[in-house]
Amino acid sequence: MAWFKRQVKGIQTPTSDKKEVPDGIWYKTPSGKIIRTVELKNNAYVSPEDGYHVRIGSREYFEILFDKNEFTELDANMESGDPLQFKDQKSYPSRVKASQEKSGLKDAVRTAYGKLDSHEVAIACMDFGFIGGSMGSVVGEKIARGIEHSIQNNKPFIMISKSGGARMMEAGLSLMQMAKTSAKLSILAKKKIPYISVLTDPTTGGVTASYAMLGDFNIAEPNALIGFAGPRVIRETIGKDLPKGFQSSEFLLEHGFVDFIVDRREMKSQISLLLRMLK
């Protein structure tokens, strides 16, 4: 019965071979459209029939944006510490470890530099799959260093946000990451280096209240949830149901907080065009 038994213990798949998004053969969108996952991948993970943007991670965004998927990753081994010895029902290190094993990631953001349509750029991309894309010290530090790379090399900085907000388990330290990233962005702005902020589903809390809203250009994927307070909290505060489309990309466009909405299939060409116009 050898084929029932795992012969080598533990997970042997290297991180690079791990898949985060649809790994079945078929994918069903919320409106019920069915598509083959291979086709989905070739379509920037957008369902061709209803335009639904499947939630993807840094691996997929890097593949979509970097020419030939070639890039150099920054601080790939940075991991979280446990300065507060935070413990709720689980200890913080055990949460981090579980998330690392599940996602194959070190933390909720990856940063890299390379070429986008021949433009030299630095890109930071968040992974929602890692503790809800929450921002702790690692996320703040990697983004700050990514911006620093842009400053040192005079390269545009592109930030893809996808986060539930600051990471509670790092308490005050998480809060200060909002300050840290904004500090670096204030230098980037002074040096007149372009900063493009891409808001994807979902972008909320401390991330919205810091780097996600600070782009020279704020662009959003269609129908993403973007806001400061979460919908549940607002509903409880006002004691009423929220209007349809509240806190969607389109709502933010209407109220003047994003420059335009971009279909993921055109994201690369639109960013490239913007960068060309700024040269």
Partner: protein
């Protein structure tokens, strides 16, 4: 209002009063007994306030008799003119600010304002500012910068307001902009947490060359109650959450997330507004005096470096 741990102290104080009254009436000499009791009360106070739990500090930070921003402003300034409005949408009553004179020098003082009674609380929206509050704060800071006036911010908020209109008008954007702009302010900026320092709503006016916390205040990414409701899925673990968050002045100082702790009068700021204001004023002015010895460029780069050093990672 009395907090649980304040009760034994007030009981003894009542006893002391009764004893003094009795002594007057009967003209008997009980000076020694009074002295003993007074010492006992002082000792008990010291013991109690030295050993407060984190949750008890949170309770003190919210004490309804605690001085609020305007109480401190009127106490520490010789003259004050309140300035209103964000020049865009309106005047947020939860965020106050204006020019004040202290020892013949001008300062721009800004802070969240809570209300003392039901009507005031409603008007002040419980100290929860809307986007126009953060924009008003930034406008006042820019005015201060223009006229080379140092900035003092006093933080006391249960959070930025999580309402429908707040989202429509860009609560996230308003706070984010403040963070970025405050890093580049050319004048000295000193911030003090005087009550509650809840998350982004507090940080939105708390990017300072020096950030201080009063002894019985808290500052963190989330309130203990909300943390409990999310991580324990119940509102009953607020004490544990407060412990886990390490949100007191002492904690935040040892984590190097703030620059100093301001002493409060024994028994807490709510027992003696004047004394509390005096400690606050001295601490802030001392910091500003030191900061004025630096050039604007030095201040900005030190301010940025300080916040960039915050965080713990392993590589």
């Amino acid at each position: 209002m009395l907090l649980d741990f304040e009760k034994p102290i007030t009981e003894l104080e009542a006893k002391l009063d009764a004893m003094k009254k009795l002594a007057q009436e009967s003209e008997s000499d009980i000076a020694a007994a009074v002295k003993t009791l007074e010492n006992k009360i002082h000792k008990l106070k010291e013991e109690t306030f030295k050993n407060l739990t984190r949750w008890q500090r949170v309770q003190l930070s919210r004490h309804p008799d605690r001085p609020y921003t305007l109480d401190y402003i009127y106490e520490i300034t010789d003259d004050f003119i309140e300035l209103h409005g964000d020049r865009n949408m309106g005047d947020d009553k939860a965020m106050v600010g204006g020019l004040g004179i202290i020892n013949k020098k001008s300062y721009m003082i800004i802070g969240q304002q809570k209300g003392r009674n039901t009507k005031q609380r409603q008007m002040r929206n419980f100290g929860m500012a809307n986007p126009e509050g953060y924009r008003k704060a930034l406008r006042l800071m820019k005015t201060a910068e223009k006229f080379d006036i140092p900035i003092i911010t006093l933080i006391d908020t249960p959070g930025a307001f999580p309402g429908l209109e707040a989202e429509e008008r860009g609560q996230g954007e308003a706070i984010a902009r403040n963070l970025k702009e405050m890093f580049q302010l050319k004048v000295p900026v000193v911030c003090a947490i005087i009550g509650e320092g809840a998350s982004g709503g507090a940080l939105g006016i708390a990017i300072g060359d020096k950030v201080l916390m009063m002894e019985n205040t808290w500052y963190s990414v989330i309130s203990p109650e909300s943390c409990s409701s999310i991580l324990w899925r119940s509102w009953d673990y607020k004490e544990q959450a407060a412990e886990a968050l390490k949100l007191t002045a002492k904690d935040m100082l040892s984590l190097k997330l703030i620059d100093g702790v301001i002493k409060e009068p024994l028994g807490g700021a709510h027992n003696d507004t004047k004394a509390a204001a005096d400690f606050l004023k001295k601490a802030i002015l001392k910091e500003i005096k030191a900061l004025q010895k630096l050039t604007p460029e030095e201040r900005i780069s030190q301010r940025i470096d300080k916040f960039c050093d915050m965080g713990v990672v392993s590589e």
